[in-house]
């Protein structure tokens, strides 16, 4: 039996976003919320360290066949010849699927264009002879073994009639395009006459910063195991958007939504890349055609060919300041490469919209369309590279002003959001700087560059601001199931790709319902569960929080009903009570209490099941909500070779309440390490002659290795955000923001050289 919320009702005691606070904040420090913030080890940890956590490519099926792909070798044109005979004749081959025999499928819809849209691109998948990017799949081979499939795929040959293609950014940028909006925000923001103010400013910085393409390169290769039973489709995916994937696949194959089940309990890293790309669609289509279950696991090259990454940007930041370090003008403009078929403009001006006070502001970004694989969201899209430009420029300004860069930030700290005018829900950036500076030993930094050395190694320190917005996605629901034995299961179709979702939610639910950790189970990763939100934009924790708050309200109201007139709770309503000690009690009267088990027992109920959907995120409309941080970096730069080593790093964050000290620290560190890669080693080489990615391998795309990473220290304010569920803002992405600038600023402090093109490779410092 299930009770559902009445979304329209606004009863006393119910959380009203932007008006009231999550009642859990009231319980902070009280018994029952003690689990929050504790460094609880990952609940799935023992499974993972034993190799027992089953990933998408690890589900066995009777009659399973293996897929391999062949890719186009031109960027744009038509396939004029496609010879599959040799592949079809190869041993073990079950099927060769091309645009000629693929089932008819609707094209995916662009993510955010509808509630079920999951497409990174809206191009049809293997439906025509058209080629839109170099590396587009042109054939799928199914065979009895992976070895057979791979070999047969290598035998597919194609001939093309090429069409003119824009594969050079320098060409593409000649005809820039202004988007209607940047993820729902205006593409241009102007306050006053910023260019005029810049010209008249006492001190000016006006520079161009460039960031290259990046690829997520989660270590798990993209994979799916798919099986049809009649018109029912079962997909084991590696996914960070389960419900959207199910809805989109239903749409593509013309199925009722409930005919598609997607699950993804473990994901071997996502970072924005584990969304819906061609491989899942092709695997489903080939499985349908062959009448057999299919496993597809992309090669690493395949991941580079068909899973988009972060696009390149060219950004101008211009700052005009008075001699005492106030901003008269703040300009951040630029351009990013994109395709005509995707929705990811890399919102690099976003951090500048909220960080600093300035008398005049101009923010604008455009895109340059190229014939390439759709670019997509990658950890802190926009903010990661936007903070590189902005925070390097701030450092350059501090240098010109002769001010400590932290002091400059103190002087331009705004009282309210500088572009929206909204109040901040909670902002403790300067606290984060001060705590971080003290711990890091910032006072030992020499003001002038090139002052410290150890043999051939020049040593420098740098800092930069980290920031990432708070978002709470609407539409997520949660179900609470309470058994007579006091066990609680909370279910919602969300994701844990290593962020620590499940562990933090167990802690959250234990705290919210006042039950021991051991009594809580968190179910996730399956579309048969109540609809969840995507794991993206650092939104999942707050979004789950909103849904669990709503479900808890229904849960309490149902229990109060069941408790009836013979309970110490008789006559009390939601507004009067709180959950504690395994039951419900009067907020102000310790004597009025009844345990969950007692209520169910007296009501003769074996269990209680409640489900509710989160209230709309009104707090985002009323407040400017962001996480902040101060990144501190020490580098050693060889004066001989230009090699850069990050020797120390500290991140000091203001991200609201931290739900799990251990897993949150790992999230922050993980972001910082990806930021070290962004700063020093990572770049996807896109050949402008062919539109083909050249370094499509982990040997040639350099993600940081152990030796690149020092011991990293993490601090956090742990100040709850009064507007956020649990007081917690997202933490998955902020770690990477500011890192590029902190490293670059440290390199400047060490060497006296400003490097404005990422990555900071040694040749730029020789």
């Amino acid at each position: 039996m299930s009770a559902h919320s009445d979304a329209a009702a606004s009863r006393p005691g119910r959380w009203q976003p932007a008006v009231t606070q999550d009642p859990l904040l009231r319980k902070h420090g009280a018994q029952g919320s003690g689990a929050l913030g504790q460094p609880v080890s990952r609940i799935e940890g023992p499974l993972k360290v034993q190799g027992k956590a089953r990933f998408a490519a690890e589900f066995p099926y009777e009659g399973l066949c293996y897929a391999a792909l062949a890719f186009s070798t031109i960027p744009r044109g038509r396939i004029t010849a496609l010879d599959t005979a040799a592949a079809e004749a190869a041993p073990g081959v079950v099927l060769v699927m091309t645009h000629r025999n693929a089932p008819r499928m609707k094209a995916p819809s662009l993510m955010m264009s509808s509630p079920t849209a999951a497409g990174a691109s809206d191009l049809p998948v293997m439906q025509t002879d058209e080629i839109h990017w170099n590396g587009q799949p042109i054939a799928v081979v199914l065979a009895e073994t992976q070895e057979q499939a791979d070999y047969a795929a290598s035998l597919v040959t194609a001939g093309y009639a090429p069409l003119p293609a824009v594969t050079s950014f320098d060409e593409a940028r000649k005809t820039p395009r202004q988007l209607d909006n940047i993820l729902g925000q205006p593409p241009v923001v102007e306050i006053g006459d910023a260019e005029g103010a810049l010209k008249g400013a006492a001190v000016q910085v006006d520079q161009i910063y460039r960031t290259p393409r990046h690829n997520h390169n989660a270590i798990e290769l993209h994979a799916a195991t798919v099986a049809w039973t009649g018109d029912e489709l079962r997909v084991h995916d590696a996914s960070q958007l389960l419900d959207l994937t199910a809805g989109q696949l239903a749409d593509i194959f013309g199925l009722e939504a409930d005919k598609v089940r997607v699950s993804s309990p473990y994901v071997g890293g996502g970072f924005g890349g584990k969304c819906l790309w061609d491989h899942q669609i092709l695997a489903c289509a080939a499985a349908k055609l062959a009448g057999r279950p299919v496993r597809i696991m992309l090669s690493r090259e395949g991941v580079f060919r068909i899973v988009g990454g972060r696009t390149l940007t060219e950004q101008r930041v211009a700052l005009g300041a008075s001699a005492d370090g106030r901003l008269d003008a703040l300009i951040h403009t630029g351009i990013a490469a994109m395709t005509a078929h995707n929705s990811c403009p890399e919102q690099f001006t976003f951090p500048t919209r909220h960080l600093y006070a300035a008398k005049s502001v101009r923010l604008a970004q455009e895109v340059a369309d190229m014939d390439m694989l759709a670019n997509t969201f990658m950890r802190a899209p926009g903010e990661s590279v936007g903070t590189f430009a902005l925070e390097c420029a701030i450092d350059e300004l501090a240098d010109k002003l002769g001010l400590d860069p932290i002091e400059l930030r103190r002087r331009i700290e705004p009282e309210k959001d500088p572009t929206s005018g909204k109040p901040f829900s909670s902002r403790h950036l300067i606290d984060a700087y001060e705590k971080g500076a003290e711990r890091f030993g910032w006072e030992r930094r020499s003001k002038a560059p090139r002052q410290r050395r150890d043999g051939e190694w020049l040593i420098g320190m740098g800092c930069a601001t980290a920031t990432y917005p708070y978002h709470r996605f609407p539409g997520g629901a949660a179900r609470i199931r309470l058994t007579a034995g006091g066990q609680v299961t909370v279910s919602t179709a969300v994701h844990d790709m290593g962020m620590g979702t499940a562990t933090a939610q167990v802690q959250h639910i234990a705290a919210r319902l006042g039950v021991p950790l051991d009594n809580v189970t968190f179910e996730y990763g399956d579309t048969t569960l109540p609809r969840g939100v995507i794991a993206g934009g650092s939104t999942q924790t707050a979004s789950i929080g909103g849904a669990v708050i709503a479900a808890t309200e229904v849960f309490v109201e149902e229990l109060l009903k069941l408790a009836g007139n013979d309970s110490p709770l008789a006559g009390l309503s939601l507004a009067d009570v709180e959950t504690r000690d395994g039951g419900i009690g009067h907020r102000d009267d310790a004597a009025r209490f009844e345990s969950y088990e007692s209520i169910l027992r007296r009501a003769g109920r074996g269990e209680l099941v409640c489900e509710a959907e989160a209230p709309p995120p009104a707090e985002m409309e009323a407040f400017s909500m962001h996480s902040y941080g101060a990144q501190f970096c020490e580098v050693r730069v060889s004066e001989i070779t230009g090699e850069v080593r990050v020797s120390r790093f500290l991140g000091s964050f203001d991200a609201g309440r931290i739900l799990n000290a251990k897993t949150a620290t790992s999230q922050f560190k993980g972001g910082i390490i990806m930021g070290i890669g962004l700063a020093l080693t990572e770049e996807t080489n896109f050949d402008p002659r062919t539109g083909r990615i050249v370094n499509a391998s982990l040997a040639d795309y350099h993600v940081p290795v152990q030796m690149d990473v020092p011991a990293i220290e993490i601090l956090y304010t742990d100040i709850p955000d009064p507007q956020a569920p649990m007081g917690a803002r997202g933490i998955g992405e902020i770690g990477i923001t500011g890192v590029g600038a902190a490293v670059a600023n440290a390199v400047y402090n060490a060497t006296g050289k400003r490097i404005r093109d990422l990555p900071i490779t040694l040749d730029k410092l020789m």
Partner: protein, 329 residues
């Protein structure tokens, strides 16, 4: 991966017999490069002859040199006490390469015969004269940060990726071969070829020949030797430039003898003979080192992305020789 047959050879004679007359046969050592290339369909052997059962001993010679069985693993060679004491540059070069896992698998013979990591060589959609003679070279005007600054040709600008071979080149190692026409020996420095107009022919090996052993002559002053590798990340990456060096100083502070080789700069491990000649008898100081480096790199030319390697090579030479001068071991 193409279908192939697999044979395990008990000794060199058996291996040579198995591969004899079969142009599509390949000797398989640790497989760390060959298997990768087979998966990319760059290599398409029809027969693999596993030679890991061939001699892998590492034996000091009466004259103070060292004889290394070709199937010795990279790890075994780097960990060998004689190598660590007498040829530290060789131990350090090997340890600078790849990862511990790969060094555990890779053999000495396979390391010598590994092929370039040029991405255009790996990508069968790209033009590559090494993979397909006459097809052209996409690297010359493409991404060529890792490519050659010395000895390149219009046909090919690839580099040899080995670290170990750079040290072996500096040590005047000899490679003992065996084949259908019997055993013979060749200096390691002569084994690899410059690309010229046939970059597909990478070594002087004749059809069916295999590497049986590597011999390093005695070099007492190699106790004062080292290897420095400059790369784009702190570990587990191929060299942009590397320098193997051994230095023998006279009482008066001049260079009595010196060995110098460069990695990451050419189609073969680059023995810096011109620099060596320029150094002998000169005072061991940064000015001499720099002058010698200038001589060695005088003919170097840069491509779009790798011009910096000319100066980087010079600086690294100076730094490595400087370290050896200062280190009174």
């Amino acid at each position: 991966m193409n279908p192939f047959s697999y044979e395990r050879a008990a000794d060199a004679a058996a291996a040579i017999g198995l591969a004899k007359g079969n142009a599509a046969a390949r000797y398989l050592g640790g497989g760390t490069n060959l298997v990768d290339l087979m998966r990319e369909t760059v290599e398409r052997p029809e027969m693999l002859v596993d030679v890991t059962g061939l001699p892998h001993g590492i034996e000091p010679r009466a004259d103070g040199g060292l004889l290394i069985g070709a199937s010795a693993t990279n790890t075994a060679l780097a960990a060998d006490s004689h190598v660590r004491t007498h040829y530290p540059l060789l131990a350090r070069a090997i340890l600078a390469g790849a990862s511990a896992q790969i060094r555990n698998m890779a053999t000495v013979g396979g390391n010598i015969l590994q092929r370039t990591r040029c991405r255009y060589f790996y990508d069968t959609a790209a033009a590559c004269n090494k993979r397909e003679p006459g097809a052209g070279c996409d690297a010359r005007d493409g991404f060529n940060r890792y490519h050659a600054i010395l000895g390149a040709s219009p046909a090919c600008v690839a580099t040899h990726p080995s670290d170990m071979c750079v040290a072996l080149a500096a040590l005047d190692a000899t490679v003992h071969l065996d084949g259908p026409d019997g055993p013979r020996s060749i200096a390691l420095a002569d084994l690899h070829r410059l690309p010229g107009d046939r970059p597909d022919i990478e070594t002087e090996l004749k059809p069916g020949e295999l590497i049986a052993a590597v011999e390093i002559p005695p070099l007492p002053f190699a106790r004062r030797s080292t290897y420095r590798k400059v790369r784009d990340r702190a570990s587990y990456a191929f060299a942009l430039v590397s320098v193997a060096a051994a230095l023998d100083l006279a009482e008066d502070g001049t260079v009595r003898d010196v060995r110098l080789a460069l990695g990451g700069v050419a189609h073969k491990p680059w023995r810096a003979s011109a620099a060596e000649a320029a150094l002998k008898g000169r005072p061991a100081n940064p000015e001499s080192f720099r002058a010698a480096a200038e001589v060695e790199l005088a003919a170097a030319t840069g491509l779009r992305d790798n011009g910096f390697k000319i100066e980087l090579a010079k600086r690294t030479i100076v730094a490595v020789l400087g370290d050896l001068t200062g280190d009174e071991a």
